[in-house]
Subunit: 300 residues, 2 copies
């Protein structure tokens, strides 16, 4: 199959000119069954319907401490400012995210292979998996800025060449998530709809979009329609809880003026049967620390 | 008593240089008793402890509609941009607040005299009352910006010359308040502490502070200590519900990226025994549309 064929067959056209449409998703949300892993049938059905699943206490309080110390260590190293894998807050210069942590932190490399994590990823995606993206996020208190509404898959498809939404994200809270400190908001069921975004992708868009996304953002009309149809749920929970969410779910977060920072480990698993192609709507693929191109299956 | 005496006796010094302190409040929160009005003893005791009270369904759904139409009418009039009583969003120019609405809207003038409102204000303050400030607030969806942590009384004392925190605010929701559309966050019990703020008040500070407050803001250390002691509650409720809150309670709000706007009517009642003096920490008082100087008691 040539690149041209891929584009012709593309069920998820985006970064278009003209009026955006809301397209039905071509692919399933849940690809495995109860027999394939630790998630029971009812929870799988719920994930299929809503596009997300909360697992309370995925990490123990002791593990949370260990990972927290690892995050502090990583955020305070020398030479961070020069490392392209470190994203700083646009306004203040503070560390906001560190990418590729499954390659640079032994602890997170272990976590990726932990059966509590890996077996759930395999089960939801119905195949062997690999890491598309890993990062730790740090939203400081008082001035943490949120993220506007978006679908991750829209970007991964357009800019990374991910063919189908056969990827799932696991966000593990390292701090308590309250309703008021900028926790993730999701529109349950929105993963069934692909919302086209308007606008050509600028070269090296990722350098600004990781701080403040301006392309790959749905229209206000589409956000209003999606919220009216699906409503909004907000992820709250104690440190150690995990949110598994579909790559195409519409989500965003508010800013955080409370004194309580919000930190999490963010792991994106992609199916090995969904390896990246050429970008569907960008001139060049993003760097591999943002979009991994080694689709070798993770093994224990 | 001369101005000098007032300043010497001032139990709430603020806009200081040096290290701010957290001072115990000199005055009561609740000044009346169960016999004085419609609020029962338990609710009054709760208001005294927490500094706020929620009254569900203070306005009926039909009344909410009527007031909403009044707000739309007021926000779309001619010559608004030239009216100093109309505050626009710093970034977008959209109407954010309209002040002095009890003087310009007949409906709101009636609301101020409505026994559901007036009798509660009189009871909490234990005296006849007048309007210190009235406004309608409009926080649009998608891009509504919040307000950082502050005590209203700190500003009213410093810039308006309000002697004591014997004032109470009534915020009546005209839209549903969810946890995620920028609803008011309060620190319950924080009204018992006066948090000094650092910095001299610039001339005509109100022209920028109504959009984005930079003076009269507590330190991050003080916000952290107050949140640790008092925690944070967030006001949610259907349109028509009212939040009564003490003039000195620490409060703030996040931004609003949801499609759901948040609008409310905001009425500040002051005791006629607490009429404004010269500002305690500003070179000139703010205009009367922000801080009313006619302390004639409101009558039905």
């Amino acid at each position: 199959m040539t690149l041209m064929d891929t584009r012709v067959d593309d069920g998820y056209p985006t970064r278009i000119t003209g009026t955006p449409e809301r397209l039905p998703r071509v692919h399933p949300t849940v690809w495995g069954t109860e027999a394939d892993g630790p998630i029971d049938a009812a929870t799988l059905a719920n994930h299929d319907a809503k596009g997300y699943t909360v697992v309370e206490g995925l990490l123990s309080p002791g593990e949370v401490q260990t990972y927290w110390q690892d995050l502090v260590r990583m955020s305070s190293g020398d030479g961070l400012a020069d490392d392209e894998r470190v994203i700083t807050e646009a306004r203040t210069g503070e560390v906001r995210s560190i990418f590729d942590v499954h390659e640079t932190s032994e602890l997170i490399a272990e976590l990726v292979r932990d059966p509590r994590v890996l077996d759930r990823a395999r089960q939801i995606l119905g195949s062997e998996v690999y890491i598309h993206q890993s990062r730790v996020n740090y939203m400081p208190g008082f001035k943490g800025t949120g993220f506007y509404w978006h679908s991750d898959f829209e970007t991964w498809h357009a800019e990374d060449g991910m063919p189908a939404p056969r990827a799932v994200s696991c966000s593990i809270a390292l701090t308590d998530n309250y309703v008021f400190n900028g926790g993730l908001m999701v529109m349950p069921g929105s993963q069934r709809t692909f919302v086209q975004c308007v606008g050509e992708t600028p070269d090296q868009n990722y350098k600004s979009s990781l701080k403040d996304q301006r392309v790959g953002v749905p229209s206000e009309d589409d956000i209003t329609a999606m919220a009216a149809e699906h409503s909004i749920d907000q992820f709250t929970g104690a440190a150690g809880s995990a949110l598994w969410f579909d790559s195409n779910i519409m989500h965003g977060s508010s800013n955080n003026i409370t004194p309580y920072p919000r930190s999490n480990i963010f792991l994106v698993f992609n199916s090995v049967e969904n390896a990246l192609q050429e970008p569907y709507a960008a001139s060049a693929p993003r760097p591999s620390f943002i979009a991994g191109r080694n689709s070798t299956p993770i093994t224990r």
